[in-house]
């Protein structure tokens, strides 16, 4: 039951680590790489708290066998803010819009929003709703999260115009 060396492009930097057979990307991020933003809410693909971007697209990292994505690019919430700590538009909109309560779903929600807005700078409310339909939040009732993502889209567009 030998471990495998896996290398990824992680938040823009190379990362190399060992993985036991059958290890999920989520477990590798948390247990081997110390990246704790992605959460283990269910380990069944049902809650979205572990959402990260795999080659730019949101996936439930608990469902990805990490050995099978050798060489892929992975982005987590730790890689969203600028290197100097400046928040990006989605993070700022969640902060200002009181779109977090317990915070456990937040990383997944933000990663879905990052991917949505990268491909669609002016999403409709329905498009936002569909994008987060795999992400469970038990605290907010979702309205503030939807509003924050729409607000983030506006902020990003304004920056682009400037």
């Amino acid at each position: 039951m030998a471990s495998t060396v896996v290398s990824l492009r992680l938040n823009g930097r190379p990362a190399e680590f060992l993985a036991r057979p059958g290890t999920s990307l989520l477990s590798s991020l948390r247990d081997s790489l110390g990246l704790m933003a992605a959460k283990r809410g269910c380990a069944q693909g049902g809650c979205g708290t572990c959402t990260v971007l795999l080659d730019g697209r949101p996936v439930m990292s608990c469902l990805v066998a990490v050995e099978t994505i050798e060489g892929a690019s992975v982005r987590t919430l730790e890689g969203v803010a600028a290197d100097d700590g400046r928040l990006d538009a989605v993070q700022s909109a969640f902060l200002d819009g009181f779109a977090t309560q317990c915070g456990f779903c937040t990383a997944g929600m933000i990663m879905v929003a990052e991917s949505l807005l990268a491909g669609n700078p002016d999403p409709s409310r329905d498009e936002v709703v569909e994008a987060i339909s795999g992400n469970v939040c038990r605290c907010t009732g979702y309205a503030s999260i939807i509003a924050a993502i729409l607000d983030a889209a506006r902020r990003k567009r304004e920056v682009d115009v400037v």
Binding site: P21, G22, S24, V59, C62, L63, V64, V129, S133, G134
Partner: protein
């Protein structure tokens, strides 16, 4: 406990591993969930990620979809986009594959219901001859689904509706997929598949019989829907009872066609 994950670079190599008893995994959405809770009854996983089975080809109205094509990619086939949007969530659709969907028990596995309605051919490779099968046929040990193919339905003949407890990201109460041809308003042929109402996707042959030769209107569809109750083996689960599924089947069959 998983002791090895194989990532074969070819179909032949994958088939060899499969013949040795490993579990085949494509997107991982079903298998990894079981790995995570310790319920996989095998020690080897065989990932098809590198086996070259991904992609969509359309030629002369024949559609071929590779087994490891994800639903995000399938949604690019315009007539199937609405059906695909009813399957799980976008984050799951970035991983989940067409091949995997064939093996998901009901009330999941909506795409298998579509393929049954489309009279799709399932392409299977293994240690012996490659073969073509119908949707729902079991695989022998060591066999691997390489893709599915079907004729693209003519404009206006494809119908799909999935009734769920929630508007998005939920299992089927009743899924209806159908290819219905009419001539002058009269049904000339109908092929209807149902999900959520039996352990496997089922053909609603009784409903098809009712419809052929009839005006395609609400009355005919209601009659067909009632007849379809003979074709199902409904079950209770966490989403709905067998009674409820049976009760609303005609409503959703009608709404699938009349929208």
């Amino acid at each position: 406990m998983i002791t090895a994950v194989r990532i074969p670079g070819s179909l032949a190599s994958a088939a060899e591993y499969a013949a040795a008893g490993g579990w085949i995994m494509a997107g991982g959405t079903v298998v990894m969930a079981q790995v995570n809770n310790g319920s996989v009854d095998a020690s080897e996983l065989i990932s098809l990620r590198a086996a070259g089975l991904s992609g969509i080809r359309v030629a002369d109205d024949m559609v071929h979809i590779g087994a490891t094509t994800t639903f995000r990619e399938v949604a690019e086939l315009e007539f199937l986009a609405d059906a695909v949007r009813t399957i799980a969530s976008p984050s799951i659709r970035n991983l989940a594959t067409v091949g995997g969907n064939l093996f998901v028990p009901q009330p999941y596995g909506d795409f298998a219901v579509c393929l049954l309605a489309l009279d799709a051919t399932v392409h299977i490779a293994g240690s012996g001859e490659n073969r073509a099968a119908k949707v729902g046929e079991p695989l022998a040990r060591g066999e691997i689904v390489t893709g599915v193919s079907f004729a693209r339905p003519a404009a206006g003949t494809w119908f799909y509706r999935k009734a769920m407890r929630r508007k998005l990201n939920s299992a089927a109460i009743v899924a209806v997929a159908a290819v219905v041809h009419t001539e002058g308003g009269v049904v000339s042929s109908a092929r209807i598949a149902l999900g959520g109402v039996a352990p496997r996707p089922v053909r609603a042959v009784s409903a098809e019989r009712v419809l052929v030769g009839r005006w395609l209107d609400a009355a005919a569809l209601d009659e067909a829907g009632a007849a379809a109750r003979a074709d199902i083996e409904p079950f209770d689960d966490a989403y709905a009872s067998a009674w409820y599924r049976t009760r609303v089947l005609p409503v959703h069959l009608r709404r699938a066609v009349l929208r």
